[in-house]
Amino acid sequence: MHIKIDDIDFSYSNAPVLNDITLDLEGPQFVTILGPNGVGKSTLIHCINKVLKPTRGSVMVDEINIDDIKLKDMAKKIGYVPYASTDSFPLTVIDTVLMGRSPHSGWRSTDEDLNIVYNVLKMLHIDDLAMRSFNELSAGQHQKVMLARGLVQDPEILLLDEPTSNLDIKHQLEVTYILKDLARSHNLLVIMISHDINIASKFSDKIILLRGGTIFSIGTPQEVITEKNIKEVYGVESNIIDVDGHPHVILKRPCDESV
């Protein structure tokens, strides 16, 4: 599993979103993308899984330019867990997750597909929800179902768009822990967008900090989460303390306000 992004730009009509992004991620690990709203985090992820096409530059997955990989083959390599949403016509949990098997199966779903779906549901401890309607679930359950759908794609790389944004603190920790554990125990390259600096810092092997459509800083949590970086990227004064070897941010105030 190897993602190599070479100098890409992306713009919506005339509004540039990403500039000169170059990135090389290889091997199983847990990577978090941090940055303020509108900085291009989701756009970057969508440039990796072919939802969007970069206006310049190239994205290689396992040394192949993604322009030359069919969508269906991409879906076998890269799983995607969207920002939580409800569907207009909700299916049951089992049928929702089963859709993730689509790149591997043909017209019919096989017992093999079902077996994998139930395995993942059990692994995430949501097998009791299998026959419930997707839209009846709580936000935490939603997120786990979406995660399950991404996992049954059986990808090597898993992309997640703010998987913890709607969750209470227990579920935030739980979902992030699962992701970290998946990266290690199932050899996945997990790339997650997050707004929670402390959770990112506690769990990530690597953090990518975006500002204005470019990579401002990339490295281990210790390297990236500094008072100076938080100030320059988020415009927030903070204290960074050390908790169990991970940097932990204590927020103080916005820099440009007289608060």
């Binding site: 269906k72 079902l114 309607s133």
Partner: protein, 364 residues
Amino acid sequence: MTGRFTDLYDNEKEIFSYDKYLSKKAFFVVICILLSLVALGLEVSLGKADIGFIESYTIIWDHITGNIATDPVGAQKDLIVWNLRLPRAIGAFMVGLILAVGGAAMQSILKNPLADPYTTGMSSGAGLGAILWISLGFCLIPSLYGYNAIVINAFVFSMVPTLAIIAVSKYKQATPTTMILTGLGVMYTFSAVTSLLMLLADPEDHKTAYMWNIGSVGSITWDAIPFIFIATVIAMVFMTYMAKKINILAMNDESAVAIGVDAKKYRIAILVVVAITVALAVSFTGTIGFVGLLAPHLVRLFVGSDNRYLIPASAAFGGMLLLYSDCIAKEIGATGLPVGVITAAVGGPLFLYILFRHKNKIWE
């Protein structure tokens, strides 16, 4: 590196109960088909000539097996059943099926419970096509006259809303909502032109024009059946084959692409197939409203929104619905009440009743 999640737990019990859950849905389809067969006999037995319910099946069976009655009364009954009533019944079932399958597919791919062949203007194209001939004597193929001219006009104009939707989605990034609104815009334009042309029409032709606007299966003959049959086969085969993709299109487009389905491409392809099959159906019946909207929603109450079952169940239910509606139309309107009136009059209140009574949310 495949099969990370293949061998973790023993799921035999769960897979068995999932299969059972699916067979319940299949059971609903079977029930609808059986009820349609009942409706077939009912439809054939209704009318001026007195033919019994059971007798209908006997006459059809005798005709198929080449056992046609030779006595004058029997021969006449055979003629009435085989040449007049049976094509109408078969036609009604297939047209209902096509509209319901089209509605089910459109609601999912456009992610909107209001989408159906009627609201997106496909059906109203048939009404306009008809009035163009009736009022102005205009046909797109100048050598055609009468009924054939109407059918050709109706077919072509039924396709116009879809062409408009495709044009809009090529021209700019069109969301499913934009696509529905485009269809709606075409529908209102068509309705306005139709109303205007009604004023110009000879008052004697008003009844015919009215029939095409409300939709009637009364003019379906054996000549029309092959076309409607082809449309039925296309609709069933294509949509059943696409059912899983239709499920995926009902999610957000990013998720669809990430699962390997090019959402925009498939949405247009499915829309085109709906348009062609619906156009083939309504060009023989005129604008029949409500079946395409109502049938999928009623069916969702029983089988849910999974298109692998929603599509066949809507097909069976839609066919059944139009067949029973036509039975009612025949029974209370001896002079030829258009079935479209019944689908709306019965379907509307029934729809509201179920909407209020049903606890489970079937759409958001």
